[in-house]
Point group: none
Chain length 155, copies 2
DNA sequence: TTCAAAATCACCCTAAAGTATGAGCCCGGA
DNA sequence: TCCGGGCTCATACTTTAGGGTGATTTTGAA
């Protein structure tokens, strides 16, 4: 959190410095009489372009990359290939998110770790897992994992 | 594809128009003598801010969400007949009783249920499971089960 | 547009799991 | 016989899991 703020401030300061330097440059140019007063539209345009670029850069730097995470499962196996038994999944009415949670459970992650992995809160994972148990008619995560593997819902 | 290009061109044209309008505005202001020559740094700054904002907006509009394909490796070892990997068991120094507990864990039983199944107390199971986790270098039963299956210690 | 399911999150509480430590019993090998 | 490892059990404590309820927001399909 503090780190993030620092980074943001860093950029803001940098931005301010750029502005200041540019203005100084302009002043200097003015003093040097290089700029013809009648034609400052030209470097006005330059400034516009420059700051547009700066804005774009800033936006790209500051915004979290809009990422669409597509989970492509690569099955490294010795034996028959694993295919998700979609029929079983739908029979139980497991949603995509619930399936995600179940998969991470099967990897031995705690609810806390799952929540961090999926960028949601711990409570959300609890809700999902509760629904998973309900739909799978089991009492514990270990049972859910067991059943999930048996029904080929998870590898 | 063509649509995308059109959209981009649209934005570019819009951008150009904005620039033109702004310059016209400036010219007009100049003609109106509203602008004090000595203080154009001020609206230079305004322009800078405006175009930075514009740049940010452009960037946000134009960036496509990045698609990240996460390759998830899943190991499946569906050999038809299961044989206990005794070597791995001994490498970790798991005792017979600890193996029993691990197996029942893998079936999704709670410590209470395991203790009833093995006719020992709950505390005993806790002790065994703690030793299992220690020897397998894992933190949770789910992880122990995961690892146990991967190492062919349990079916 | 509207409606239902999905997804998100919060709070409170109980149950289960896990940690740490200590201790007694039994058995096989030195 | 003594020692160590395995097995048993206990107590006390912390952490995690799970249950129940209610709420808001997103989203997809009708």
């Amino acid at each position: 959190m503090a780190k993030n703020l620092l980074a943001k401030n860093k950029l803001t300061i940098l931005y301010g410095l750029c502005l200041a330097v540019l203005l100084l440059l302009l002043k200097w140019l003015e003093l040097k009489l290089v700029i013809v007063n009648n034609a400052y539209e030209v470097y006005m345009g330059a400034i516009a372009v420059f700051f547009t670029a700066l804005g774009i850069w800033l936006a790209l730097k500051l915004t979290k990359p809009k990422t669409v995470i597509v989970e492509k499962q690569v099955y490294v196996n010795n034996g028959p290939e694993f295919t998700v038994n979609q029929a079983e999944v739908e029979k139980m009415g497991l949603s995509k998110r619930e399936l995600d949670v179940l998969q991470l459970m099967a990897e031995g992650l705690s609810n806390q770790e799952i929540s961090e992995r999926l960028f949601v809160s711990l409570n959300t994972i609890k809700t999902h897992s509760a629904k998973v148990f309900e739909k799978m008619e089991v009492k514990r995560r270990t049972q859910a994992v067991e059943m999930g593997k048996r029904l080929c819902i998870i590898p």
